[in-house]
């Protein structure tokens, strides 16, 4: 292969790789547009004020349900 032909192949390969990179880059840019730096923000609810009360017992605890029993004390 002559020097001219080798250079032509390298140029063609470079163009192909460059085109592929451009194509993928374009797809990424299209699929994942840069996030806007400004815009509406959603405030997360305050976890303290959003907390609800306890749920009262739906049935009367049975005296034998000892596995559903525990204790609270300061520790």
């Amino acid at each position: 292969m002559s020097g001219h032909a080798r250079r032509s192949r390298l140029v063609a390969l470079g163009l192909s790789v460059g085109g592929l990179v451009g194509l993928v880059g374009g797809m990424v840019a299209t699929e994942h547009p840069r996030a806007a730096t400004t815009g509406p923000t959603v405030a997360a609810p305050d976890p303290f004020t959003a907390g609800g009360p306890a749920t009262p017992p739906s049935t009367t605890p049975t005296p034998g349900s000892r596995f559903r029993q525990t204790i609270t004390s300061a520790s």
Binding site: F48, T49, P57, T59, T60, T70, T72, S73
Partner: protein, 271 residues
């Protein structure tokens, strides 16, 4: 967290109990201020500098901040006797500006003690994970701060704060909720001829003595129950139950004379 834990799993998958126990140990390793390698210890060691922490610890810090705001500053995990002695002079509000999505930084001069809120939040997290794992019910009690949901009703004995060998002062029952107890009668020590305890009043910087000996709170989450128990204790006998009512919680407190006072809406939860 330096305490015991009691875990009950209802209809859980094989190994659920062991996974719950390991999860509590993981949270202990992240949150204990007595373990030098914990994330909380690193936060306190590197005050003023950003520290990368786990999502668990970020949640803990944001919950603590919310508790501080929600109680008008009565709950303050930045207040520690040891930190005051060592020159603690920063307001907890400063922490707000240092917490974001990424690393967490404590302001210089401040120290973070998750203490009780860590126990309550650990109970909340582990119960939620057990239920997500397929259990029909779960109860996790970390040193008296507990969360129970599903498979109920659950009953919780409230220990006598003056002597836990006596019969319980109340038995609570509920299908889902969090319970916590705070008392100035525990974790006490003597210094300079005066008895000290771990509940410091942020307003004075001194161990609180308000006329309330212990508070037990029942609400939706254990971490909120813990926050409210401390806030109610600091509010004193005249304001304790109002603190609970304002936060959609219920409960009871025992004054220094040993008299038990209950929220008006506690009745449906008494077994």
């Amino acid at each position: 967290m330096g305490t015991w834990a009691h875990i009950v799993v209802v209809d859980g998958r094989r190994g659920a109990l062991d996974r719950a126990r390991r999860r509590i140990e993981q949270l202990e390793a992240r949150w204990s201020r007595f373990l030098p390698a914990s994330e909380v210890s690193r936060l306190n060691r590197h005050r003023g500098r950003p520290v990368v922490v786990s999502a668990d610890t970020a949640t803990l810090v944001t919950r603590a901040m919310a508790g501080h705001r929600g109680t008008g500053g009565r709950f303050d995990p930045m207040v520690l006797g040891t930190l005051i002695d060592s020159g603690y002079d920063r307001s907890f509000e400063l922490l707000d500006r240092h917490v974001g999505v990424g690393p967490v930084a404590l302001p210089r001069g401040a120290g973070f003690d998750p203490g009780g809120i860590g126990k309550g939040l650990a109970a909340d997290l582990v119960v939620a994970e057990l239920l997500a794992d397929g259990a029909t019910g779960a109860c996790v009690n970390v040193g008296g701060d507990l969360r129970a949901e599903g498979g109920g009703p659950w009953t919780v004995d409230v220990a006598d704060p003056f002597d836990d060998r006596r019969p319980p002062i109340a038995r609570l029952a509920f299908d889902a909720g969090g319970v916590a107890t705070s008392s100035r009668l525990r974790r006490t020590w003597w210094r300079d001829g005066a008895e000290r305890h771990h509940l410091v009043d942020p307003a004075s910087g001194r161990p609180a003595r308000t006329g309330v000996a212990a508070v037990t709170v029942l609400t939706g989450d254990a971490w909120r129950a813990e926050v409210l128990a401390k806030a109610a204790l600091l509010a004193g006998p005249d304001g304790a139950l109002d603190v609970l009512a304002d936060a959609r919680a219920t409960g009871l407190f025992v004054d220094d004379e040993g008299t038990c006072h209950r929220s008006p809406d506690l009745d449906p939860f008494l077994a």
